[in-house]
Symmetry: C2
Subunit: 582 residues, 2 copies
């Protein structure tokens, strides 16, 4: 037995017990005739004391200990004279009687501390050392807790976790698949699943009634901070349900996670239609930790001789409370912000509602104080506030204004990571028109059910058809999304025809599921949560990488493992493959 207790466990209640601890040397300090060693493991830090007067030989050993050496210490639990209130074990220390070095350590390439001196690249290369840092490990503890709590909640509600295959067939109509050459079937490939969508719908056809799976999914896309080639979903599907049943059950799951993992009570989730979300926030995943809704002022801006507004399809404002005092420099910064190519606005118009009630604007030339007053009135601005206005083509401008709103929220400290605002976005459009390809695409996927009252619009104005589809949004992050599926083959056929598929094409690409639907498919629907994002939001992280044990970098590389890498010619030959150098 290597230890009797962990390094986070001992308290005054254990006084005078003879214990054995094992762990890593965090720090060694010499003070008078004493050597103090902070011994660390996953559970905490305990102070070990070596006393020159009591045992010189042991002290000679202890002084040689380096950072991150692995040691075993036997000794007695003693009350500290100099207690450390910041440490759960801070009331006691261990008077060492025996010391065994289990493994020495080279000096690590960066310090294993809360605030490390290691840069990103170095820490990724030595990820196994970075993971020793409490800050990093606790994200993974949180991830474990959330996954475990989600499973408990779903298990109690009769959901069955079913593992669906990872070596599957390639699916059309999605992102790019990773493919896996089959040795036993030369020239043929498996694909790694982008989601278990087809399988979970089949399980509903099988009468599994309630399915879930916490499952890795794969997408060969260009990467950015919140995308990884492999990511994890909490994937769920239910039979004999309507949208309301799903929203309630999974709002319950989210509340349960907040309660059990973070001890936070979350009130009932507001619901916002997609149309309203776009109108109010210019986004289908609005950050509702703060207000600052859009105010449409197109009607108030037109006909005053200012061509920019006159020719714009849309003009919208947000009211930044207390920002009338912004300096020219600050306003220029905001203008630069909206003009960045990623955002793409042509310019930014402001109206200062000064504390004395006077109005100053970058478009004073065209608009009188009375005109401007109408804008601020509509925005319910108060003296001291700042109105920020963008105009142009509706959708584009809403998106730009959305970015500006988020930026202002951040500048004003309104995006507190310890505050959580959850909501449902509902009534998504069923279809999106692709101007380039000149056809409709399913916004969610082709099995998403239209709202019954909108089915008649499928033939006349498909773009107006709303879907039984929903997203869960927390703090401006899309945490999950799903839909009620089509279970009726006639409706499914109509859907494919709207999407421009011939019967043959539909059969070739989706025949598999359509055939299954002939044998008694129940009404069903589901939802999938992005676990990586869910954990990131819980932990207040900026990147999902920080809650993944061994993430890939932006080129899809694991720099620690040095993967991907070349394989042997022999292996390629077995797979009947040849690399084509371009």
């Amino acid at each position: 037995m290597y230890r009797t207790n962990s390094c986070g466990e001992l308290r005054l209640a254990h006084l005078n017990q003879e214990v054995t601890l094992a762990g890593w040397v965090q720090k060694t300090r010499k003070f008078g005739g004493m050597i103090f060693v902070d011994l660390r493991d996953r559970y905490g830090i305990t102070q070990i004391v070596f006393n020159q007067e009591i045992n010189t030989q042991l002290c000679d050993q202890a002084i040689k200990l380096g950072r991150e050496w692995v040691v075993q210490v036997k000794g007695k639990v003693t009350e500290r004279s100099n207690k450390n209130p910041n440490l759960p074990t801070g009331d006691i220390e261990i008077i060492a009687a025996e010391l065994i070095v289990l493994n020495p350590s080279d000096t690590p390439p960066f310090t294993i501390e809360e605030d490390t001196d290691g840069g990103d690249d170095l820490r990724m290369k030595y990820r196994y050392l970075d993971l020793r840092r409490t800050a990093v490990r606790s994200n993974l503890e949180l991830r474990h807790q959330m996954a475990f709590a989600a499973r408990s909640y779903l298990n109690e509600r009769k959901f069955m976790e079913v593992e669906t295959p990872v070596l599957v067939g390639s699916t059309p109509e999605g992102a790019r698949d990773f493919i896996v050459p089959s040795r036993m079937n030369p020239g043929q490939f498996y694909a790694l699943p982008q989601s278990p969508q087809l399988f979970k719908q089949l399980l509903m056809v099988s009468g599994f009634d309630r399915y879930f799976q916490i499952v890795k999914c794969y997408r060969d896309e260009d990467l950015r901070a919140d995308r990884q080639p492999e990511f994890t979903q909490i994937d769920c599907e239910m039979s004999f349900v309507e949208q309301e049943d799903i929203l309630n059950l999974f709002e319950g799951l989210t509340k349960y996670l907040f309660k059990t993992v973070k001890g936070i009570d979350i009130p009932d989730f507001p619901r916002l239609s997609y149309a309203d979300a776009m109108k109010r926030y210019g986004s289908d995943k609005p950050d509702t930790r703060f207000g600052m809704p859009f105010v449409e002022i197109k009607d108030l801006t037109t006909g005053k001789g200012f061509g920019v507004f006159d020719s714009a399809e849309y003009a919208g404002a947000i009211c930044a409370a207390g920002c009338a005092s912004y300096t020219r420099k600050q306003l220029d910064e905001l203008t630069d912000f909206v003009k960045r190519p990623q955002i793409g606005a042509k310019g930014l118009i402001y109206v200062r509602y000064d504390a004395d009630g006077s109005l100053k604007s970058s478009v004073d030339k065209f608009y009188s104080a009375d005109d401007l007053q109408k804008w601020t009135d509509r925005a319910k601005a108060k003296p001291g506030d700042l109105l920020l206005v963008l105009c142009g083509e509706t959708e584009k401008t809403q998106k730009q204004l959305s970015e500006l709103r988020l930026e202002m929220g951040a500048r004003l400290g309104l995006r507190n990571k310890d505050q959580f605002n959850c909501l449902w976005i509902t009534d998504f459009p069923l279809l999106e028109y692709d101007d380039e390809l000149k056809r409709y695409f399913a916004k969610h996927h082709p099995f998403t059910s239209p709202k019954p009252e909108d089915i008649s619009l499928l033939e006349t104005s498909p773009e107006r058809v709303r879907a039984n589809a929903y997203d869960m949004v927390i703090n401006g992050v899309e945490i999950g999304g799903g839909s009620i599926r089509i279970h009726n083959s006639e409706l499914q056929k109509k859907m494919f025809s709207v999407l421009g598929f011939s019967d043959e094409q539909a059969q070739a690409q989706f025949g598999f599921l359509m055939n299954a639907f002939k044998y008694g498919a129940p009404p069903h629907g589901g939802i999938a949560f992005g676990l990586d994002r869910f954990v990131s939001v819980f932990a207040g992280l900026d990147s999902i990488r920080d809650c993944i044990a061994f993430p890939k970098n932006n080129s899809g590389r694991d720099v620690m493992f040095d993967a991907p890498s070349a394989v042997s010619q022999e292996q390629l030959d077995e797979l009947h493959l040849k690399i084509v150098r371009s």
Copy 2:
């Protein structure tokens, strides 16, 4: 809301309640003026009654219902006059007031019954219908329960579930990897992991202390009944532990699973060394539901003029109780069995210990009754028993005798699927000598630690070194295996040199982990269970396929999904790959 209750839920306690059920039509029977419909869902079957006298129109609807149609029924819970004691809901029936067809069904290609008329191929093609059968679905329910219970047990003991990557680097020294071409890194490939071995050891270096993961692993091997290209492990690793700690904790897990999932108390597991297991059962995964141990009789058979025995390295017998009455035909069957090419014995010798105490043997010519009596005495045979004897090269003969023992166990009904005998096999040899490649290979993997008392043998007689490695065996199936790992770099270097690696080769192939071990690796060890096999044993299944929702066939194909399949030229071009037709 589609239903108020499930089809498995209603009892006499619900009498007179108005309920709504939804499910599949299992069966329709007309009887007098009544129509009886068995409505099925995952939770059970409830009888629905339509009464011609009460509602003719509803009866006309009901009579049209076909097998597997999906319907919704509203009605009142009523006591049955003719109760069905075989059905949990058999005391009640629903007098239907309303019937809605949610989805009709084509006639399924086989019957959805306990004993179906569908052949294997048909059922795999329509796996989603096969999964409707209670027998199949209950295997998956069991799988869910076992995985959930394992997680609960481990979570309570502070194990953290950590997801390790699926797109990893290719590892040498194992089975064949599946590889995944990287679009972003042309000419390079990820590999799918055969196990998270390296990652879990790194997590120990990271101080995670207790790790587990229920995780898919991948092996591109030729398949058979108990092999799938993707399979699932309960993968575990612990720090600061010795072999004893691991055996106790995971014996506890297995007992917990038996208790919570099957309600069975399992006694403490016997432990058997690898050497003893081979000597007694000729197998490192003996089926201990029955005895019939090997009896070595080489010394008793030699020097009597029978060349076959004289020249044999080994002669061993098993005693089949009560089989002295076996007919010539039965004995011939057994001879044919051991002579099958998969087993490869040259012949089978028997000694009948007849009820009257007389001994008859196929080698009467060479051995007197007194000689034979010595054999039967050593085998503790009683009148009425049959001795079966094989001889030849030791290891080969032990394996053959092991197969014969299992066959006899099966013939005598000693391999009862409802009885569970668990044990540990310990003290595996560290190394195996490969006669062809003329070098030692690690029997487990190169990071397995030798027993401290055997380390000195590493240089002198490596084949005699025993490892701190162990397997858990239930009913003759290897359910799990693991080892204490080497955490000392010097010992690891010696191990590589015994395996014939130069320092450079060791660095190139395993440098990654060896570098990590420089920074304070704790003593650690672990175990991995094969979940598919674990569930199969619990369910008494012959093939792991029956506890996998969507298994592959022997050619690695998913016949339902028709995967693997060809991919587009465009996709191959993006990956810089070309298929070479041979």
